[in-house]
Symmetry: C3
Subunit: 348 residues, 3 copies
């Protein structure tokens, strides 16, 4: 990553509310507060690192309005509402200069069925396979070794990274990003026990991914038994997440790594599941609810609530219990003592 | 999914014990009770949805013998032992009409070693790699970008979806289905610490997958250190499940998504592990045992038992404790109060 | 696996401290104590199996110095410091004879950009894709269908199994092994909420894998937001492990299957995380610390400590509590009884 910005160029990107101090240094790198050196841009993105601002060697620091400290000599603070977002915009500028736009067209090593439709502005990289009846939208980029099954639709401006597998009959909206080796539209896990053997329930539904969804590396999103598995507009899914058949995920949710959602569950809009959360089948998680890391959700969760634990209960209660359970050894001793005292007093 | 059945055609597939009501509607879709419309087939597959039968708009509903309600006008109820299974058979009929049978032969873009044996009725899709000494059975279908390593054997009537990786020297029985990007035969995780460095223990055994097994997308099944890792006949494995080296899984088990089984553990026949269950190494889970979602199994489990929790204990006990632990704050208060009262009474 | 060793040949590999008994059998197989037959090599690698030595049918058994039993007639015990390691060395000898060394050169079906540099001793298997500016070191072997993105560097003597995906700009040191379908350098999971939509934070950093690292099948290791995600020298990672952006993992760690590490966390040298451990973001796990299976680590962990539980606490305390919580039903009854007795005694 090579970069070079003046402080004025950074300010033009982040639109600061105010500034304190000044620097003549060219910005050549981005670094965390603790490791930054002269010529670096840094930021206060998490309250935990507040104390590091005073001693950082960064030449330019993005700080939130609430941070009141003064810069050192030769240091510039730019005050922005969301330092993390402001930094993201600087990074986006850098990213543009790093990435070559993909060349439209189909790589000669790709295998595209005669009956597939590929937009002329789309870019199909080496060793992709596109089956009969599939459709790839304008400007979409399949980087390499991507599989798009029969009759699947990839909308405009999508990016499918190497090794993505899209089973037959699935749909991706516009601006969908799917990371390497993710699988969309695999069979749901459904069997009926007949004479001691598990007979497969055919999975003839679809997986539908709406606009602006991002799906992490190695995720698996099953098609519906019938009907549709849906990932709603703007939802972002981290790596290695499992979404079972007939799950309906709302808009603008965040599903962190290794979370797993069992079949036929509904996740409403703006839900946030932390890493390794497990969600049972046939339940509903209400709009805006949050679950802490590793929570095991076994019942419906009310909109706006925040849960944690195994099984998941309200977050503050779980936190209280997590403390109290560490005192269980003493509690047992205290009850032992009480019983002895009662006995002495003639009770029991 | 386009379909069109008369109610008589549906009845011919599901063989109902009895029927109530009648419909003249053609069945054009399948839907859950709550969302079904006229012309849809629906079913009561889970007691949870019982109340929805009375108000469903479905034209034809598959109900179990225990459901006693009457249909609305123009609605037909077919009484079947397992509505879910009956529906599965309707879906299987639809699936047949949707899928084209794969064409026998090797796609010109596939890379098949001279010394590999591919049955003439097998279908090797685009960009597959089949190494020296490997063997692909009759009617087996490798959809695309599948890798079959040296001397591996794929039995008859298997289906390997895009991106499946089969390391050298592994065996798949007959009618095995492996979903996209699953890995079979990867090295087990074994090292010995020598002078502060982890020295690799070579993994020279096999992974053996018996007849009628289904393996989900993104699963990883390690080869044995020596000897065999085995997945027994008829066992079904959901997505992103990890099976460690030298694990022996019996017949007709169900392993739900994201479960993980550590090395050298034995899972007997008909075991069911729910999602995200973790099983330690060198233990045995007895025939027909079940574990609830996220259970952490650290000791042998008796045949037929049902466990849950972290660490896993008998299910009913875990459920009771899950309730009681929520009352820990009050319990601590009650013990505080008891201590004060005892003091007042002159104890302690 | 076909093999044939005399007992002297085995001894020459394992350098025993002492021997007891004798066998004239040729060693044709390796097996666990309980299933070994005449002609097999076995070993006592885990105290749990000690009782099985006396009855094993193996012709040759590797035992630790502390095992004092005598062999049966026709049986040879070789006493070695680490039986498991000694066996590993036998297996390494077998492995050498099983694997053909890869042929240097680029398979004609691979797609290698004009501006990529591939060492002449490297072996690029079928259907690999190597982008512009990437560099593959001496003797490295990309088995098949491996993707190496723009400007990525693979050091000398690496082995990348089928379906590995290396995003642009990443670095692998020397002797790195990456198993099938693992992904290195995927985008970190970072968004900022702006007007109700998650705006992507570009991930423009790198993923750096140091010398002698092994990475399991299906793992996902994200690139840094900026700067570097690092996996330190000699660290071994099992299957389906998630490593978030900007994570720094030290040297010689062991990360077992399905563990997940959230962004910006530091794992110091020689840390061991058992299966399904979850580690929160922005925390530090001190040198040599261990975490038991499924532990949920939410705070910094001191060097050398051993934790377990949800959330993770010191291992012995967690074990004690795991026992006591099973007695919660009785504890509640005991407190009920105490309250009744106090009341009787005139308290409250």
């Amino acid at each position: 990553m090579q970069l070079s910005f003046t402080s004025d160029e950074i300010a033009a990107i982040v639109h600061p509310r105010a500034s304190r101090g000044a620097t003549s240094a060219m910005i050549h790198g981005i670094s965390a507060l603790g490791t930054a050196r002269s010529g670096d841009l840094s930021f206060l993105g998490h309250a935990k690192y507040k104390a590091e601002v005073a001693s950082t060697q960064a030449s330019l620091v993005l700080v939130p309005p609430g941070y009141l400290g003064d810069p050192q000599a030769g240091q510039l603070f730019l005050v922005v509402d969301q330092p993390s977002l402001a930094l993201a915009r600087v990074c986006a500028r850098i990213e543009q200069s790093l990435q070559l736009p993909p060349r439209p067209g189909v790589h000669p090593s790709a295998v595209v069925a005669a009956g597939a439709r590929v937009a002329t502005s789309a870019s199909i990289g080496p060793l992709c396979v596109i089956e009969e009846g599939a459709c790839i939208g304008e400007r979409s980029h399949l980087q390499a070794s991507v599989f798009v099954g029969r009759d699947s639709v990839v909308g405009d401006d999508c990016r499918l990274m190497p090794g993505v597998r899209l089973y037959a009959g699935c749909q991706l909206g516009r601006r969908v990003r799917v990371h390497a080796n993710a699988v969309i539209g695999s069979d749901g896990f459904g069997y009926e026990l007949v004479d001691g053997r598990h007979e497969k329930i055919p999975q003839i539904g679809q997986a539908v991914i709406e606009d602006d969804v991002e799906i992490g590396a190695g995720c698996t999103i099953d098609r519906a038994r019938f009907g549709r598995t849906i990932v709603g507009e703007g939802t972002k899914i981290d790596n290695l997440v499992q979404v079972g058949h007939n799950v309906v995920i709302g808009k603008h949710c965040l599903l962190c790594s290794q979370a797993g959602i069992s079949g036929s569950t509904t996740i409403e809009d703006y839900v946030v599941l932390a890493g390794q959360v497990g969600v049972g089948g046939h339940i509903t998680i209400g709009r805006g609810a949050k679950a802490g890391g590793g929570a095991a959700i076994t019942t419906d969760i009310s909109p706006g609530s925040y849960v944690n634990g195994y099984p998941a209960i309200p977050y503050l209660l779980e936190r209280r219990i997590a403390v109290l359970r560490q005192r269980l050894p003493q509690l047992f001793h205290r009850v032992d003592a009480l019983e002895a005292q009662i006995k002495e007093l003639g009770g029991g």
